[in-house]
Symmetry: C2
Subunit: 754 residues, 2 copies
Amino acid sequence: MHNYNVIGKNIKRVDALEKVNGTACYSDDITFRNMLHAKMLHSPHAHARILNIDISKAVKLPGVRSVITSKDIPFNSNLGEEKGWILAEEEVCYIGDPVAIVAADSIEIASKALGLIKVDYEILPAVIYLEDAMKENAPIVCPGTTTNLIMDKHSVRGDVEADFLRADVIVSHTVHFPHIIQGYLEPNSATAVYLNGELTIYCGSQAWHRLKKDVASRCGIAENRVIIRPMSMGGAFGGKSEQITAIVAGLLAIKTNRPVKFTRSREEDFYDSHPTVEMIVKVTLAADKEGHFLSRKTEYLGDVGAYGVAGTWVLGVASYRADTSYKFNSVEVRTKGVRLNRTPTAAYRGYGNQQAHFALETTIDVLANELNIDPSDLRLKNYISPNTISIHGYHISSCGLKECMHRARELIAWDELRYKKTENKVGVGCATLVHAAGSRAGDPEFPGDSALLQCDMDGKLTVWAGEAEFGQGAKTVMAQVVAEEFGVDVSDVRVVLGDTQHTPFATGTHGSKLTTILANAVLFACQKAKKEILDEITTITGSGMLEIKNGNIINFKKDVLMTLQEALREVCLKRSGAPIIVMGEYRPAAVLLDETGYGNLAPTYPFGVQAAEVEVDEETGRIYVKRIVSVHDSGKIINPQMAAGEVYGGVLQAFGFSTMEHLAVNNQGLLLGGTLLEYKIPTILDAPDIIADFIETVDPHGPYGAKSLGEPPIVSVLAAISNAVYDAIGITLNDAPFTPLKVLKAIKEKTKKV
Amino acid sequence: MHNYNVIGKNIKRVDALEKVNGTACYSDDITFRNMLHAKMLHSPHAHARILNIDISKAVKLPGVRSVITSKDIPFNSNLGEEKGWILAEEEVCYIGDPVAIVAADSIEIASKALGLIKVDYEILPAVIYLEDAMKENAPIVCPGTTTNLIMDKHSVRGDVEADFLRADVIVSHTVHFPHIIQGYLEPNSATAVYLNGELTIYCGSQAWHRLKKDVASRCGIAENRVIIRPMSMGGAFGGKSEQITAIVAGLLAIKTNRPVKFTRSREEDFYDSHPTVEMIVKVTLAADKEGHFLSRKTEYLGDVGAYGVAGTWVLGVASYRADTSYKFNSVEVRTKGVRLNRTPTAAYRGYGNQQAHFALETTIDVLANELNIDPSDLRLKNYISPNTISIHGYHISSCGLKECMHRARELIAWDELRYKKTENKVGVGCATLVHAAGSRAGDPEFPGDSALLQCDMDGKLTVWAGEAEFGQGAKTVMAQVVAEEFGVDVSDVRVVLGDTQHTPFATGTHGSKLTTILANAVLFACQKAKKEILDEITTITGSGMLEIKNGNIINFKKDVLMTLQEALREVCLKRSGAPIIVMGEYRPAAVLLDETGYGNLAPTYPFGVQAAEVEVDEETGRIYVKRIVSVHDSGKIINPQMAAGEVYGGVLQAFGFSTMEHLAVNNQGLLLGGTLLEYKIPTILDAPDIIADFIETVDPHGPYGAKSLGEPPIVSVLAAISNAVYDAIGITLNDAPFTPLKVLKAIKEKTKKV
């Protein structure tokens, strides 16, 4: 076991203080002189033809500086491809679809101007529910298309039919996962300044450099005329990768030649951001009588929304990833994505893996019940081993699944809860999870990440990288890597993430990639910089065989020649003040998936087991989730406290959509609860007791053996709760969230059957 | 002659638009939530002992967050060395000396709190006038010292006595140059934020990296915990190198843990900034009868103010530089710097050269008069030649002085004005000037400058350098160099100057150095980057012998392989997104001066000739400066329009202190005009007709042959006007500014004598 100074230690987040004392500057905090405020007009109809937009009254309102509709946008629509338009052209296709934007001297004037824009609509039939999209004579959701089916993929690995023929037992189970929101604290906001032909946008994003490209193309200016400046972010959770806020602010800034702020209201983000993909998933599982999994057939039907944004990608991840935890002989998967007249769907922490694991991991319990095998034992029997290749071609280097399960059972008191039940309706359930540490799903040209390390004359070490800090703690992790490598204090390291004027290109912060992929790039940068410094010090002092240790330059006799700070001063002085700047690059040995979804898409894979203890009140239908034990194999843990924080947050979010969250609509597509008063997100008072624990494997591909942990904690909590409810009262809940109403209904149906 | 695309062209300033349309963000424009406002209490006495400071009432005022006096400052005083203290300790030594600072919720509260601070003073005798400092029994200006004489240097080169013995004519002349202010538009201002143990200061400065050091040591935190972020600056002219505004804001931010803004009033900057060094200069010049200069003796007496800030350095430059234009056999110089109970003096565009040239160049006209030689011919006879070493050891590479004089005479219509006079009191005068393109007077460790060039995937080229843009156009010049080298448009280049978080160390922007020293570093960076790009493209394409021309990669057959932008995309993609970053360094072959002031302190030297046409109203004493012809040998001119702008500005400033500007005090040290209403700075209506012209030598040490032009235009205008007045009415004005009162007095005295 390595002896680290900083790695594996509970280092305080480098941005803790600014978050706590309110000094952090969020997008809405920044202001400029002469700044205008923007407001957006959204469609009130789920589907309608736009006959006319009359802005004449709005533009005449004193204080209104610009009113923009689709025709004012240099590159508005790429409906031919997957994505939609910035502002609706011929039709509006969901309630909330943006129609016009106004920039005015104040928010009040801009709001008033919205009321003066007259849009004539011809209402068209709409498709609101997932089951209706493929019905015969279903209306076409969106203009320029002839079908609502946007994705239809089928892949088969191994001889599925033969495995099903020789199976001793076959179980089938269908689940439904609804639209839910990411629930970030800070609504989307951006402020744009157009100056000297250069557009600078201050905002939050998960993908600064891609946003730069998008802003440039949509606003019709050259890419190298755009700078994106990151502000502090109040969460993202996948929901801030494809927002148009920055584009709109940019368009208005160019149009008006004045700074423009566009901060969306919470209600706007409810109606017009990108919720999760609603899915109906059917799993059929074939096993032998000892419980060895033989084969699995899965059918996915998912809603990508009115326009494709990232829904098909999410369905792609859902299709394959959950199979990775187990040894399967064969699998078959059929995935259909359809359009609905609802807001486009996209990523949410877990990226389809919540839906896929809900389906598979509840089906496994159905099988366990059928075979009368303990569900945890059934999983243990089927877990994939380290150093193998999964059914979808993933190279599994480390895998601590068995240890995770044993630890989870121990921590939840599995045997006691399950087999020594008392009267009250208490139950325990478990579920497995797997995720990828980054993936090549993004820009095919960019498998990896790069980081600049700047070593300054004053001894400060600065990391510059194009990825995003949105609360997950990436800055702290990168600072820890540099501090470890140079033997300095974390506070001697500065980490700047995302300013596109200086940071190297990065595809964006998704897929739990930073602690593996970016940290590797930072690690390599440190190694290069240390070599450069030592070579220079050798030239200056004549001493060779030097090392950097504990912030000092030492020779082979362990004598301290000088401090690192002194060394940097010497070296930079020699270079007329120029700092040492090195680039670290890391490209995982990962490949793009082939047509069938096969291929090793990530450098390594984190695993975990969730276990839930529940008590069901059969009279009210309320499920009390008492404890969630969440045990992760995320390789070496860089910062235990922050890692536990990730687990607490992810589990709590999953608890939310397990028991209360649901973006319900009426048959006109209108939200039944489009505010935080009505859309219930758990508060700390609702929270179950969450126990986070880690099985620390040492992965050969991660820095110091680390894998990743960003998304895993949210995955499989839903299945574990469902399985625990079955253990408690013998009913299988398959329609999330498990609200008292649904639970009561299920109890009634079960009673009827009996 | 080279054929350049961008160099030598009238490229629009890259920061023109933001300055013109008001979008530029100056120090006072930036605000933070919860920001406090600071106000400073200044001494009302020229000299007094501080018996007690009672802040008890002030701290109790609601809204006051901190009151700081000297004892709260980690490193307040280094009076043992040259510099003073941040806040007065035992004594106050000039009217305006800072005593306490207050941070409060509003400026109003802070101002009110100042009135509640009770300071008990024991008034001490003060030294107000330069002539009094060295008098017997003169009071000691400042505590901890035993004499007011802070500098006393004497150097002799050649056999001065022998040259004086063989001289045919010896003339002697004494001039007086008063205190004047730099007259920048924007008073000093800084906003400080202390967060996560890191202090970030948003301000203006001429020396970002030195300021960082100063802030760190004064505030008692590590250097690598300080970031200085440059704001747009409303001028500096030497006056923003040693200001304490940023330090004070930083101290208060640390103390209160809240952002603090400290914007000084114009009045504060009048009383407590750093005006020029007041000097009395006596020149004795020895020549043969043909007018060949043989030797010169000069005595300088200058005021460094109550505490030394940079006054002694200014006196150092004054002592030697002006001799450079001429061939002298020998020189002797004696320089004394004294303390007065007045605000410390420091740099002003020209840095002592205005004073020195005033003395020498008026004395030359006295000699010309004595010898009855045309003063322009007398100068031509004595000019130093290119490729020689001056009396003080300067290596003169290019020198277009003769051509400058011929051009100036032509443009001012010298012969006509001088020798075909009509009735009215019109006169013409000329004066020579020399300056250095940068100098090693600063940090002895740093002879040069360095610049980072970042070539991004999107084709943008960004220069990062630690120097300052304060209006002189450095950003535009650097952008021109990069645009020229890559054959791209200036707008494809971004220039970031001064952010200490990313730019390499630089000593600061003084001494007209950027167009020579920094531009050379940028040029070398371009050459390195081009090589790196081409090597990579050779590796990728297999084609060798490539060149970058007009923004394209071309081969030896001049075929375009791809655009530079395409090439950068390829190369950066190959490096996982990392941009190409190279460091350009330039170290001039200059040395530190020896003890006697001997040595080649700069890579090259700009020269020039000023010629003035005046008309004197003998009844009112008013001098009408009708035209100033300002002809410069600044080597190759990078941007003629901007160069002319430098000349217009510098000449106008010099016209100001020739005719009206003067920081006069009464015998208590109180300013007789401490506002812009009373202290007269010329407006455009006062301005003479200014004709700028250039003799473009091609200097081997400058980029494209460029020398420098920042300071030269302000030098020797005063002498040219004085000489023109002599030509007009036969009196020699030696006491600047030449106000009507002084002119009338001189006329009266002359009449008396006659």
